[in-house]
């Protein structure tokens, strides 16, 4: 027996899932899993393998994570949504998205979870531009992130500093909504921010420090960045005129 009935209920509502979308991250996936476990053993870890060909899924299983293998590459948005559906189906109260390349530091998890646990937010975004400024990135990337932040802040009517951060925590309401309606493809977090605001999810940013990647290079080249920037801007513009796909059920 573990505690009283009410204690068990509150424990259940706090079950937490770490969603780790991974595409060919064999070099870093095991250390990411170990670090999450070392930081917070209560986390169940789900690696969503988005069509890796380098044995990422097997390494993740060997490190003790749950693994969902997508039959073909869906892109980061589809992979994250798979994790959110898993969280919904298995009744997790909190889901955190953590990159498989090691740039998200699991010791920042308590900061990310605090607003959710306090019931103050439905989505918490780890921002690289709040508080300590130690984020190192190419000049153009930083400018791009700033420009998007300014546009999205205006669209959602709330000052935001980092709309493309993928270090995010989702509460129960956000899991319920995003598991049904989540943007697909790449750089999906910008669109997700707008969707969150439009459907009434409460969004908060907390400052986090991000590390250099353990392995690999950013997959973004300049032409691809320009293509995705245009695509995201079009999506955000259309999103302003769009109604929510689903009504959020209040609990």
């Amino acid at each position: 027996m573990i505690g009283t009935r009410s204690e068990r209920v509150s424990l259940t509502s706090l079950r937490r899932l770490a969603i780790v979308p991974a595409l060919n991250e064999a070099g870093s996936i095991q250390s990411v899993i170990r670090e999450i476990r070392a930081q917070d053993p209560d986390f169940e870890i789900l690696v969503v393998d988005d069509g890796s060909t380098d044995g990422t899924a097997g390494l993740a299983e060997a490190a003790g994570a749950w693994v969902v293998r997508l039959p073909f590459n869906l892109g980061i948005g589809g992979a994250v949504q798979t994790g959110l559906q898993y969280a919904r189906d298995h009744d997790f109260g909190i889901a955190v998205q953590i990159d498989a390349d090691g740039q998200h530091d699991p010791t920042e998890l308590p900061k990310l979870l605090a607003p959710l646990l306090a019931g103050e937010a439905d989505v918490v975004v780890g921002s690289r531009f709040l508080g300590e400024r130690n984020y190192k990135a190419p000049f153009l990337r930083r400018v791009g992130i700033r420009v998007f932040a300014a546009i999205i802040s205006a669209v959602v009517g709330q000052p935001l500093t980092d709309t493309s951060s993928s270090f995010r925590a989702f509460g129960r309401r956000a899991i319920a909504y995003f598991s049904r309606d989540y943007p697909h493809g790449f750089v999906e977090s910008v669109e997700a921010t707008v969707i969150a605001a439009r459907c009434g999810l409460r969004l908060t940013e907390v400052p986090v420090v991000m590390r250099q990647r353990l392995m690999g290079q950013s997959s973004l080249t300049l032409p691809i960045s320009i293509y995705y920037s245009i695509k995201v801007l079009v999506a955000v513009f259309v999103g302003i005129f769009r109604r929510s796909a689903y009504e959020l059920k209040e609990e």
Partner: protein
């Protein structure tokens, strides 16, 4: 020079295309990534329809004597690009469909085996 009525007709047609594409996106019947080429088509045709001297110059540059023909050629070219893009999309979808059918068949087989041997 392009007849004025041709310019107006082409501009209105391009605007209608843009509005229809926008409405399809808004109502979630068209994903952004499949809308971008249509939006580009509509924008280019619209710009060349209202910027008459640019169309005249472009037609002259490629040796087309009658500028509205250049507009027609350009629109056809964009439609070709969109079609080619769809061919690649269909190829990808049919490949993914094969993978899904195979995975489903194997999954059903495993489920039946598990049900036949409940222990």
């Amino acid at each position: 020079m392009t007849p004025f009525r041709v310019s107006i007709f082409a501009a209105v047609a391009a605007l209608i295309l843009l509005v229809v594409v926008f409405e399809l996106m808004r109502s979630r019947r068209l994903q952004e990534r499949y809308a971008l080429l249509w939006l580009l088509t509509g924008l280019v045709v619209f710009v060349l329809a209202v910027w008459r001297s640019l169309l005249g110059w472009a037609a002259d540059a490629v040796g087309i004597a009658y500028p509205p023909s250049a507009l027609f050629v350009l629109a056809s070219f964009f439609i070709l690009i969109v079609l080619l893009h769809y061919s690649t999309v269909i190829s990808r979808l049919s490949e993914q469909n094969t993978v899904l059918a195979q995975r489903l068949a194997i999954l059903e087989n495993r489920l039946r085996e598990a049900q036949d041997r409940p222990d």
